[in-house]
């Protein structure tokens, strides 16, 4: 029989459930301060879409802090803040639907990546993402002629990350540029990347330390130890997406 994994057939791509990189988000200690959202935007050159587009559901964030309420007015109770980002699914629904192979699974890092310059903008991936965590460049937000606010903000672009044009999809990469930097450094020093040596922008910025990032295939890493706690939840696991982000809620 042909091994479909070897020939690269996407539908047949089944990996071990744990993957390589993963994250644990502790909703019990998240204060909803949005520092992760800001840090992510700075790190990844995410466009500022302006008030009007943001109000119309076009804000481009790779991570967002969701808020929910329980009950009906006036007996309303706020639930936990829920930072939502790409779950880097092992079997991602966004991947097989792209007609141009613009959203691909990184074999080396086991994350889901977007190839910006291959994207033609059908937006099928975003429709098919059950977490709704992909963001689309509706306009040329990084063009000064269109978005005057970007003129000065341009100076803080991260040189390690591409600036995207209009008409392409983008998404959380688990700060792949940081992963590569850490791996290159470790390799030049002839060692493995140590747990906690680097982290993603959102985890780094979190003042409550609610976000932990690391190797989920290493049982001794902090992220694996946290994920093993009894109250870990993976979102929409029933769809068979094999999410790599564990949410801790209602622990202590």
């Amino acid at each position: 029989m042909i091994d479909l994994n070897v020939v690269g057939a996407k539908g047949a791509l089944v990996e071990e459930a744990e993957g390589k990189w993963g994250m644990v988000i502790d909703q019990d200690i998240c204060t909803g301060c949005q520092a992760c959202v800001t840090a992510c935007a700075m790190e990844n050159n995410i466009a500022f879409v302006g008030e009007e587009d943001a109000g119309y559901g076009r804000s481009m964030h790779w991570i967002r802090v969701e808020r929910f309420w329980e009950g009906t007015y006036p007996h309303v109770k706020m639930t936990h803040y829920q930072p939502m980002l790409c779950q880097q699914c092992g079997q991602a629904p966004c991947e097989p639907v792209c007609p141009a192979f613009a959203t691909v699974h990184s074999q080396a890092e086991q994350v889901n990546l977007q190839v910006y310059n291959r994207c033609v903008g059908t937006r099928y991936c975003a429709n098919n993402c059950p977490y709704q965590v992909r963001s689309f460049n509706w306009r040329d937000y990084n063009d000064e002629r269109i978005n005057s606010a970007i003129a000065t903000l341009k100076n803080q672009y991260n040189p390690d990350v591409t600036v995207r044009r209009r008409g392409v999809m983008e998404k959380c990469t688990f700060c792949i540029q940081r992963i590569h930097k850490a791996q290159d450094k470790a390799k030049s020093e002839g060692r493995e990347v140590a747990d906690g040596e680097f982290t993603t922008a959102c985890a780094q910025a979190c003042p409550a330390d609610a976000i932990t990032f690391g190797r989920v295939d290493d049982p001794e890493s902090l992220v694996s130890q946290l994920a093993r706690q009894g109250h870990g939840v993976k979102h929409l696991e029933e769809l068979g997406t094999l999410p790599r982000v564990t949410y801790l809620v209602g622990g202590a």
Binding site: P96, R118, V120, A126, N137, R166
Partner: protein, 470 residues
């Protein structure tokens, strides 16, 4: 007694085009005359539509390309909007042409003869609008050729796991095959027009007639080719809309991943397509010269019957789809079904059912009503509105409900509206231009049918007899 028989015969001739033959030359002249007689009203409408196409379609599309999809109404979570609604709608319209000319040809339904061409033109022009709509939808349309499987140095290939790739192949196949199928029966009529015209028209028809002279060999080849196409295009037609439905059915979304979507979409396409055919026929009959001879109440009656049956089939599939989704008991699907009926656009859901089911059922059962061109015109128009609503409910309205409630948000169309009106205007414009250049009635097919039919007397009874020509 003789008088009574004579009257019965007269009545049959008035009713049925196939029993009311005219001399060949006269009929050819009638069709040529219908192409050449152009009133000032035609040019006024033509001019208005040209302006709408220039502004609504080309100027707006240019802006869309230059400024980005942001000027349309799409957002998160409604990443797909009216562009996709229009794509599905126009592909649906295009189905009627093949249905009428291929399926009815294969089943030898004689009433099809005078309007197969009118229906086939709808297929081709409808697919053009569908193509426009899907390309408008894309974020970077200038690189859309990447979706084609062409050999390139980088070894990049489209993803054949994506339903959109299937779609592209299916629609391209359908456009090419339906255009060829439109052209084949056109050849003898082009030859007829060539022999009857002068000037630039003569050159135009000369090229398109491919030197057809009407020899026995040519007719044999033509008939063979048409037979092959008629049978081969039927599965293509069914596959196209089934594959369009898989864009939705293969997705991981509540309300979309329904196994019944394939046949449900095909029947929906036929529903809107038949409605569109009957509208076109009513307009052609009312506005073009000599068309009252070719298109008669019997044709509206026959299409009306088909519309009623298709409406019933559509109602069955709608009910089936609803039932299975509701019975599945998934909490997101439950939310979605509630949103369809009781959400802010619930009126659209009810209007869809009234236009697609209630009104056709209430009117088309009556033979007298469905023989009236203007009654069926209105019914066809309402069916098309209802079927557009159906696609609107499936795409932007269903997209507002997903498994991430934090992102739920309404969709408000932007530049989609002028662009949608532009595609409609362009469809009508192409049709009007075609009505001046192409014989809208396949004269030779009508003549062939009339030759096969005759009235014979058996005792006192006048009987319609049909001989097999092929």
């Amino acid at each position: 007694m003789t008088d009574k028989h004579h009257n019965a015969e007269q009545h049959l001739r008035e009713q049925h085009l196939m029993l009311d033959p005219l001399p060949r030359g006269q009929m050819n002249d009638m069709v040529m005359e219908s192409m050449h007689t152009t009133s000032w009203k035609f040019w006024v409408v033509f001019g208005i539509l040209s302006v709408i196409v220039a502004v609504g379609l080309f100027y707006s599309w240019g802006r869309l390309i230059l400024e980005g999809v942001g000027i349309a109404g799409v957002n998160r979570p409604s990443y797909w909007g009216i562009f996709l609604v229009n794509t599905v709608f126009w592909i649906g319209i295009s189905h009627a042409g093949t249905f009428i000319s291929a399926i009815l040809r294969v089943f030898k339904a004689e009433f099809r003869r005078p309007f197969t061409r009118a229906a086939e033109l709808m297929t081709t022009f409808g697919l053009v609008q569908a193509g426009f709509s899907i390309f408008m939808h894309m974020g970077r349309v200038w690189v859309s050729y990447w979706l084609m499987p062409y050999p390139n140095q980088r070894g990049l290939w489209p993803n054949f796991h994506s339903p959109l790739s299937w779609d592209l192949l299916a629609i391209t196949t359908y456009l090419l095959s339906s255009t060829m199928y439109l052209f084949l029966p056109l050849i003898p009529d082009m030859a007829m027009a060539r022999d009857k015209s002068t000037g630039w028209r003569k050159t135009f028809y000369k090229i398109l007639a491919l030197g057809f002279r009407g020899t026995e060999g040519e007719w044999t080849h033509l008939r063979n080719a048409m037979n092959i196409f008629a049978f081969a295009i039927i599965p293509v037609m069914f596959s196209v809309h089934t594959i369009v439905s898989w864009d939705f059915a293969a997705a991981t979304r509540p309300g979309w991943n329904s196994t019944i979507f394939g046949p449900y979409f095909v029947v929906g396409a036929l529903h809107s397509g038949m409605g569109a055919v009957i509208m076109v026929l009513a307009v052609v009959r009312a506005t073009m010269k000599n068309m009252k001879y070719f298109i008669r109440p019997e044709h509206f009656e026959a299409i009306g019957k088909l519309m009623l049956i298709i409406s019933m089939t559509w109602a069955y599939f709608f009910f089936n789809d609803y039932m299975v989704q509701w019975y599945g008991g998934d909490k997101w699907t439950k939310q979605l079904l509630h949103w369809h009926e009781a959400g802010p656009l619930g009126w659209m859901w009810f209007a869809m059912l009234i236009f697609n089911v209630a009104i056709p059922w209430a009117t088309l059962w009556n033979k007298k009503w469905r023989s009236n061109p203007w009654i069926v015109f209105v019914v066809g128009l309402l069916i098309n509105v209802g079927m557009w609503f159906e696609r609107y409910i499936i795409i932007p309205i269903s997209l507002t409900i997903n498994r991430a409630p934090f992102t739920w948000r309404m969709y408000e169309p932007g530049i989609e509206i002028p662009l949608g009106i532009g595609t409609l205007a362009f469809f009508i414009l192409l049709y009007m231009a075609a009505s001046r250049l192409v014989p809208l009635v396949p004269v030779w097919e009508v003549q062939e049918g009339q030759m096969a039919h005759s009235l014979k007397k058996f005792g006192r009874e006048t009987v319609v007899t049909v001989s097999e020509l092929e």
